[in-house]
């Protein structure tokens, strides 16, 4: 007679509980909701926004928040909520674009460097490491100094900042995966080196980098806002949260809502991404390789 089976002993976890566990905790669930809502709003901005972002209304200059204008109005009478929504699209696109670009360039570099090792590794990683020798924002500013300000430039600059981080993460993961028995097994089966690299090593090495990418997206939004704030990112008439935050300073004491709401929107967005990233980390990378 065998011991009673364990499954019968433990009560079946509720659906919610299982969902929470899948995403890595309550906080992560909140994060996912936030990000989903915000991304939807950004995408649907033209449909969802209550007013025209450029519509100047001299009657409503520095108008207080009310039902028609929940975030109030700015120095030109424009509806802040609408402008936030549109600025959002720009900020989000730049952030997502930069992380995607960093991933697209950095991951292959890390993969090849880690897989081939030897002089290839040295050749590829030296310049990468040098990029890390400069503080991030400084590097971005320097790049923008060369090419000139703009949203696209900011996107590329942020991608350049993140490239080394992604490359190094993928590389460390590759080093671990490379040593696994199943890689040797594939070789014994006669698989070619490139196919091993792409079919076996690559998929298993992306975990920590993906986790970090989520968090990096959040910070990318912050960096983009900082750059725009300094006048180095998106240029008017393109809207950007950073620009709004800069403009809000002029009317700070008269109409604080012009400054408060865009900032809050920014903070909540980054929070959302950070929560998701933390949750993902708990699921995919509990040992904290992605630091």
């Amino acid at each position: 007679m065998t011991a009673p089976s364990l499954a019968a002993a433990r009560p079946r976890a509720s659906l919610v509980r299982r969902l929470v566990r899948r995403v890595g905790g309550w906080e992560a669930l909140v994060g996912i909701v936030i990000v989903a809502v915000l991304v939807t709003l950004a995408v649907l901005a033209p449909l969802v926004a209550p007013h025209d972002p450029e519509a100047i209304d001299s009657a409503r200059i520095l108008g207080r928040p009310d039902l028609g204008h929940p975030f109030g109005s700015d120095a030109l009478g424009r509806d802040v909520l609408t402008r936030v929504l549109f600025a959002y699209r720009v900020s989000l696109s730049v952030a997502l674009g930069s992380v995607a670009l960093a991933f697209a360039v950095g991951a292959p570099i890390g993969l090849v460097a880690g897989f081939r090792g030897g002089w290839v590794d040295g050749l590829l990683m030296r310049p990468i490491d040098l990029l890390l020798a400069l503080p991030a924002l400084l590097l971005a500013v320097a790049l923008i100094a060369i090419v000139g300000p703009g949203a696209l430039v900011a996107l590329v600059a942020i991608a350049v900042i993140y490239l080394p981080i992604i490359a190094r993460l993928v590389r460390s993961a590759v080093l671990v995966v490379k040593a696994q028995p199943y890689v040797d097994g594939a070789r014994a089966h006669g698989a070619s080196e490139p196919s091993i690299m792409l079919r076996h090593v690559l998929p298993n090495s992306l975990g920590p980098a993906l986790v970090q990418a989520t968090v990096l997206t959040g910070f990318a939004i912050q960096i983009e806002a900082a750059l725009s704030f300094l006048g180095l990112g998106a240029q008017p008439p393109t809207a950007s949260l950073g620009i709004m935050l800069n403009e809000g300073r002029d009317v700070l004491t008269l109409a604080p809502w012009v400054e408060i709401f865009p900032g809050l929107a920014l903070a909540i967005t980054v929070l959302g991404f950070n929560l998701v990233g933390d949750g993902l980390r708990r699921r995919l990378d509990p040992r904290g390789m992605a630091r």
Partner: protein, 319 residues
């Protein structure tokens, strides 16, 4: 101590190629500008005459290698060049600006450590709820953009309560009290996100260390929790904490760029930003060079501190 000394020397020597590579990058900056950098720089003042003069003065008409060596040579003599718009010597300009940035960054890091370290240790050694509360607080603090926080602080302390000035600066040497009045808000702005980060890192490092097997043995020896936490766990956790402090210094330098602009502090960061907006390339170059060099030196210092803290690292071993 001999292997440790070797480590120090090796680490020092390694810094040199990094500094050189960085100098090459900065040097190339102006040459990478699309179009004619000199025309862009001079803007409406760009007559053919002026352009030619400046080009010669900047040495842009000579071969690349010559230019670099000349530039490097001048650099090693302490000459950062000249601001071609205002004719001011850049070395002087930067030596005036650098202390401001340093004061801001160092004070911010100090405040962040004073707040973050003890709270991090606390979060790691007390119960579950302290842990969860701090996590929540930390994530929120990291997510808030620091310059927005700065503006909020200005709104509160300067705009509403008129306690502190919203911007401006007085040098430390002449009038420390006034200096502090101007620096409080900028330092707090920069320090808050940083404190949260340090808190999280400290807590993570302590959690990790306290889970190590040797801690159990220390308990078996009959040592008190306090002794274990401070004499052993903290010392072992110090390495990852120091790592983060080193990296974060760079982040702070970047943040200083924004905070200086926000509070109109006459530091290097604000200098760079203004120069970029004016297309004043020589100034940008000089500024970036100085800040980057500073960062590299701080990293060196961090590594040297490791060697002291963890003998295994000094000998090239694994942690």
């Amino acid at each position: 101590m001999s292997p440790r000394f070797g480590y120090l020397v090796r680490r020092l020597l390694l810094t040199i190629p990094v500094l050189l590579a960085m100098s090459v990058f900065v040097f190339l900056m102006i040459r990478l500008v699309p179009g004619d950098p000199v025309r862009t720089m001079l803007g409406f003042r760009a007559t053919d005459e002026n352009v030619a003069t400046i080009r010669a003065a900047l040495g842009l008409d000579r071969p690349l290698a010559d230019q670099y060596l000349a530039w490097l040579g001048a650099l090693l003599h302490g000459d950062l060049g000249q601001d071609f718009v205002s004719k001011a010597p850049l070395t002087t300009l930067l030596s005036q600006r650098l202390p401001v940035t340093l004061e801001l960054t160092i004070l911010a890091m100090a405040v962040a450590l004073i707040v973050g370290l003890p709270l991090g240790v606390l979060a790691a050694t007390r119960g579950r709820w302290t842990g969860r509360l701090t996590s929540g607080f930390v994530v929120a603090a990291i997510s808030v953009p620091d310059f927005w926080l700065g503006i909020m602080l200005v709104l509160l302390f300067a705009g509403t309560f008129h306690l502190l000035p919203p911007s401006g600066y007085k040098p430390l040497v002449g009038d420390p009290v006034a200096n502090l009045r101007y620096m409080i808000l900028p330092v707090l702005t920069l320090a808050s996100g940083e404190a949260a980060y340090i808190l999280r890192t400290t807590r993570g490092a302590m959690d990790s260390t306290l889970g190590s097997p040797f801690i159990l043995f220390l308990r078996a020896k009959g040592l008190s929790e306090r002794e274990i936490t401070f004499r052993h766990a903290l010392r072992n956790a110090a390495v990852p904490i120091v790592t983060v402090v080193g990296i974060q210094f760079g982040v702070l330098l970047g943040g200083a760029i924004v905070v200086e602009s926000l509070f109109a502090l006459p530091g290097v960061g604000r200098l760079i930003v203004t120069a970029v907006n004016q297309r004043n390339y020589p100034v940008v170059q000089a500024g970036v060079l100085v800040v980057a060099a500073l960062f590299i030196l701080v990293n060196l210092l961090t590594d040297l501190v490791y060697g002291v803290l963890d003998p295994r690292l000094a000998e090239g071993g694994e942690t």
